[in-house]
Amino acid sequence: MSSTSTATAGPVADSPNRTLHAWWQAAPFTLVFVLFFLIPLGLIVMVSFWDFNEYELLPAFTLRNYFAIFEGCSVLTEHGDFCVSLSTYLSTLKFSLLVWGITLVLGFAVAYFLAFHVRSPGMQTALFILCTVPFWTSNVIRMISWVPLLGRNGLVNQSLQGVGLIDEPIEWLLFSDFSVVLAFVHLYTMFMIVPIFNSMMRIDRSLLEAASDAGASGWQTLWNVIVPLSKTGIIIGSIFVITIVMGDFVTIGVMGGQQIASVGKIIQVQTSYLQFPLAAANAVILLSVVLMIIWGLTRLVDIRKEL
């Protein structure tokens, strides 16, 4: 409980009565997470071991669902590919890493510009808000807004054909891996900018001056002072982006023209066919993968100190 008191430093003396009082205040909030988060998660784990037929779920304890997911994964297919589950996980992981890399570089550059190059606080706030406003608008709208640009007769193809660079429209601009990654970057760079900017604003400016006085070049200051001190923001942003992309099915669905597989999409399809135990087993595996990634990242940071 030590970190609670550091976060609060309230004027109120601690007593059992106070604790009870505090819990009454936190009770509705807690109840929501018990009812709609903890219990559902527990049920997913439970049902992932259940059996099912076309009509109903059958309480049991079986590993059938897990075996079904990895059926045939011990050997490569005749074309030398991995089994469906494994290649879907690898493809989802590939998207995650790609989007993570791009949003990290882009988000860092934008946050760096805002934090260290924009001098007036008013301008800083205005530009920061400019970056965050799209977050409050619909993701699907932001996805379909690429259609008039990237489509077969879209602006990009029209322009390229207009100047004579290409004869035939480029087909891979829309409903492809490219458009999926583009949409992810478009939607989620904000999740990098905000925490990294927050970390950068806490850096004592005299440290930069000290580095410069000690003879560090701009790049050396960036790499040896600013990047380490922005670590927390980088890690929080990375967790957001990686977990969102790992579980995504909407963006991959819409921007991939419903043709590209992802783990989230498998779960969604299995749920819509009411194959809950299979979907649950997939969810447990996805969750384990995501938790491993987060565990690797969070050992380095205490989120609560950053608010």
């Binding site: 109120v12 988060f37 608008t137 995504d248 749920t271």
Partner: protein, 296 residues
């Protein structure tokens, strides 16, 4: 460091260019669909514009195929408002609780953060599953007590203000609590102490001292609550039952509708989001000015 204070630091212009391109990247496509939603009746999904008209907005009002856009719009509006209300109330209460000696508060905090970063499809699946099991249990119970008429009328517990509301709150409440933390971390308790020293009751202290000070942030929480709910898809998808919210309908329409009507829908939804942001900023500024008038 003399030249950094007088002229632009090295790297300013390249970075400024990156920033400008980023802003264009963020807003450009959105702007394009605003323009295209006013496409003339003969116009298509891409440029060129064939005249300007409100044709596609009229089409939208009449409904797209089998989808009743108006009903979905109202459902989303109602759900968003309820989510906003709950988000504000529960987050503020929990934020206050965390300032006291909340034993087990760390666990609650970690659960909240876990809910924020949990892949949405998992939350959605879990809630959908939970309500279907609940349905099964209730039906079994009704059968056991012999309430056959109730059993026949019983559909499902899944719904807008049951499972979907819960799903939305798992997404909006973490933002609400984090904002409350950020607010109280910068909050000067001296004002409260002064109020108590002057004999104010806890409620009076909250109502007349704390609430005016945190007012603008509370309005901000309300905005997060509404806009996040208004655009939510992933957590709602498996947890809503027979009816659909507006973004879910929109997602479905992306693969079936091939006219600018879908851009018109996009424009309408975005206008609502911007209106909410505008109202929030206005209200927060009003509250801020009010506060200044009292304290300074």
């Amino acid at each position: 460091m003399a030249h950094t204070t007088e002229s632009r630091a090295p790297g300013f212009w390249p970075l400024a260019t990156v920033f400008a391109l980023f802003v264009l990247f963020m807003y450009g496509p959105m702007f394009v669909i605003f323009v295209l939603s006013f496409q003339g009746p003969e116009g298509g999904l891409t440029f060129p514009l064939r005249g300007l008209s409100l044709h596609w907005f009229r089409q939208l009002a009449e409904g797209l195929g089998t989808v009743d856009i108006g009903a979905a719009f109202l459902r989303s509006l109602m759900l968003g408002s309820v989510v906003m209300l709950f988000t504000v109330l529960l987050s503020v209460l929990a934020g206050l609780a965390f300032r006291k000696n909340l034993s087990g508060g760390n666990a609650l905090f970690y659960v909240t953060v876990a809910s924020l970063i949990m892949p949405s499809i998992i939350v959605s699946l879990g809630i959908g599953l939970q309500f279907r099991l609940l349905d099964g249990g209730l039906k079994w119970l009704l059968e056991a007590v012999g309430a056959t008429t109730t059993l026949e009328e019983y559909g499902t517990a899944l719904g807008l203000f049951t499972s979907a509301l819960g799903a939305h709150l798992t997404w909006t409440l973490p933002f609400g609590l984090l904002i409350m933390f950020a607010v109280f971390n910068r909050f000067n308790p001296a004002y409260e102490e002064a109020a108590r020293d002057l004999g104010a009751t806890p409620w009076q202290t909250f109502r007349h001292v704390v609430l005016p000070l945190i007012g603008p942030s509370v309005v901000g929480i309300g905005m997060f609550g509404f806009t996040l709910s208004w655009d939510e898809i992933a957590r709602t998808s498996q947890a809503i039952g027979d009816v659909n919210t507006l973004p879910l309908e929109l997602q479905g329409l992306t693969s079936t509708v091939t006219t600018p009507a879908i851009y018109a829908l996009g424009t309408v939804t975005t206008v609502v989001s911007f209106a909410v942001i505008g109202i929030t900023v206005g209200l927060a500024m009003l509250l801020g000015r009010h506060k200044k008038g009292h304290t300074g």
